[in-house]
């Protein structure tokens, strides 16, 4: 690994100052993506800004209509937090589908959502719930946040502080895991609100997580089984590779959506 300097600020202001004072700084959260990337020389920051000491990035808060999750909340905490379990139970259940118990003890939801790996899981929940991404300087709607593969609307020095998720009346997530890596070959998160359905797909899209608006409209207009039959997935822009070709992924989106909707409690 290349030599690196580590600073551990206790405030967002100090974190920004430390970031801006260096040419190739990177923010470090749980490190479950960044540290292996550094070991593989895929990332070579000259300075790491370790965010783990910043208090305002921690904690889970039930705000009545929404659930605010601090970016530093670990996946293990997502799985066990009573507040998460009562507000959006599917978010707690999904944590157990991500990586393994050791990685979940370190990896954070903020790190995952800031990294925007196209096969991550919580990105689908964030987009599917229509969350608000709270940063050190502004709020970003999930619909404007996910730009492409590993790309977000975050500026170079912008820090994701918390994720504010509107509570759906019910939600469901279903995933086809890659048998080796465990990452999503395709994953579908559905959320039902009084205003209608939201559906987000991760893992499969050529440009990362995306909304399946056709299914959202269909679910709002007709019973689920008719909705699944009515949508046309043939032109979805999905990843095509030998292990999981495009045709498989398009089919998977349909049956995972069915499974995800089936998990919704209030149908």
């Amino acid at each position: 690994m290349h030599p690196v300097e580590i600073v551990k600020p206790e405030t967002l202001a100090d974190a920004l100052e430390a970031f801006r004072a260096s040419d190739e700084a990177m923010f470090l959260s749980g490190g479950m993506t960044l540290v292996p990337s550094m070991k593989a020389h895929l990332a070579a920051p000259d300075r790491l800004i370790d965010l783990s000491g910043i208090a305002e990035m921690t904690g889970v808060e039930d705000r009545g209509l929404s659930l605010r999750i601090g970016a530093l909340t670990r996946l293990a905490d997502m799985a066990t937090s009573p507040k998460v379990a009562s507000a959006i139970p599917e978010l707690a259940r999904m944590a157990g589908m991500i990586a393994d118990r050791h990685v979940r003890n370190r990896g954070t939801i903020g790190g995952s959502v800031a990294n925007n790996d196209p096969a991550a899981d919580y990105t689908a929940a964030v987009l599917g719930c229509g969350a608000t991404l709270v940063t050190d300087r502004r709020e970003i709607a999930a619909d404007d946040y996910f730009i492409g593969l590993f790309e977000t609307a975050l500026e170079e020095d912008e820090i994701l502080v918390a994720i504010d998720l509107p509570k759906p009346s019910s939600a469901g997530y279903a995933k086809h895991s890659h048998p080796a890596s465990g990452y999503a070959v395709a994953g579908v998160f559905v959320a039902r609100f009084d205003s209608g359905w939201r559906v987000a797909v991760t893992g499969a899209g050529s440009e990362g997580v995306f909304r399946l608006t056709e299914l959202e409209d269909a679910l709002s207009a007709r019973p689920p089984e008719q909705a699944f039959a009515a949508i046309d997935v043939s032109s979805l822009d999905v990843i095509d590779e030998p292990a999981f070709p495009a045709a498989f992924r398009r089919d998977a989106i349909r049956w995972l959506a069915r499974e995800a909707v089936g998990r919704c409690q209030d149908l």
Binding site: I6, V35, P36, H102, V103
Partner: protein
């Protein structure tokens, strides 16, 4: 260089290391505790699992300098006392290892699994919880049997089916 202060296996240790030093390298190279292994080095195999403040982590992907001062690290060396730990005995009795390379990580993990499931443990649950520990020799049958035997010897009930605690 930076100074890292940890509580390792109950002993305070203060070590000067390069800033980018990984926890597993500190444990192995600086403290000479070589029971913790490096397998894949890519966060997958679990040969490097240790306990950090009571939770299992993969020490190959943690920068030692980011740990809180005097964080508690427990390695395989501290698992048994004069006698083997019941989980170590169970791995021996059940033949839960062949080459043994993954075994330290598995035993540290297995003890944590048992302690986190005091209400009982099923084979299905053990398999699920062992997702982050790879063994290239055994095919896992005897490992699962060993974890359940160890659980029983640690006073945790073995559930026959379903029964995820």
């Amino acid at each position: 260089m930076t100074r890292v202060s940890l509580q390792v296996n109950g002993q305070p240790r203060h070590v000067d290391v390069e800033v980018q030093t990984l926890l597993v390298d500190l444990i192995r190279e600086k403290l000479n505790l070589t029971g913790t292994h490096v397998g894949c080095d890519t966060l997958q195999c679990g040969a490097c699992v240790v306990r950090l403040n009571g939770e299992t982590v993969k020490s190959c992907s943690i920068l030692a300098a980011t740990l809180p001062a005097m964080a508690e690290v427990t390695t395989i060396e501290a698992v048994g006392g004069d006698d083997l730990h019941p989980m170590q005995k169970a791995f021996s009795v059940c033949h839960g290892l062949q080459c043994g390379y993954c075994t330290p990580g598995l035993i540290v993990t297995a003890i944590d699994i048992v302690e986190k499931n005091p209400g009982g443990l099923s084979a299905e649950k053990v398999r699920k919880e062992l997702k982050g520990n790879l063994c290239r020799c055994t095919g896992y049958q005897n490992i699962v049997a060993a974890v359940l035997q160890g659980a029983s010897d640690m006073g945790v009930r073995v559930l026959t089916e379903g029964g995820d605690a």
